[in-house]
Point group: C2
Chain length 124, copies 2
Amino acid sequence: MKRRNTATQEAVLSVLTSKRRAMSQDAIVKQMEVNADRATIYRILNRFCEDGIVHKIVADDGKQYFAVCVKCDDIPVLGNHFHFRCTKCETIECLPTLVEFSVPEKYVVQQMNCVLVGICKDCS
Amino acid sequence: MKRRNTATQEAVLSVLTSKRRAMSQDAIVKQMEVNADRATIYRILNRFCEDGIVHKIVADDGKQYFAVCVKCDDIPVLGNHFHFRCTKCETIECLPTLVEFSVPEKYVVQQMNCVLVGICKDCS
DNA sequence: ATATTATTGCGACAAAGGTGCAATAATTTA
DNA sequence: TAAATTATTGCACCTTTGTCGCAATAATAT
């Protein structure tokens, strides 16, 4: 399944990279000048996830948010970091804070989804 | 708004306390012998949350799970603990592991929702 | 026993995501 | 460059989760 370049895909990626935040599908379309079908956006985002271009966060509102996997401020943002949802500006960002934990005997951790909720630096 | 005792409420609470796991609405009804309306279950669960009897977890599947606020194994399970979703037995449990973190300057954390995903001790 | 009002059931609704299928268009091949 | 291949899209439709209004029911207080 070789990938192809399309305008919609580039638009989605462009929005995500410029905003530097985790965004929901509807937030992404709002920022796009090109308009595309909802289902298409979801398919593009899920493809990006498979390819490791973006990662998915499920916030405490139950919605999926997508963020580009980039290094911010020279701190590598890998899988195991906290996400921060600001209740004032309604954005979700990747914190450089790594999630540290230890689980009881015999538990195997494969993924994680950690969201802190509060007021971000710009709103406090 | 004084609370009243009803059979449905007791049934919900009974299921949650006996299972000792975080359960979704549909999982709860399946375990109940009394049958009640979906909306009613949700209202009961949200009331329990308000009263501090149960707490709500939003898993990485975007669904709400509810767990009784109890002490397990002599370890107090308060707000700031990890949750563990087992992909094999499809349950979510409260880990005794507390969430430890430090956020960058000027961030104010008010809540958190941290879910680890993998294989639990019973399934590994 | 009656009045008060919390709780329930029903119906309807909205939002978020996903899917199948035919049409479109980006690559590849000739 | 033109034709063939097949990844991607748009559309329609569907499912699940969760909420809400309102009238009916039933738990408590009087």
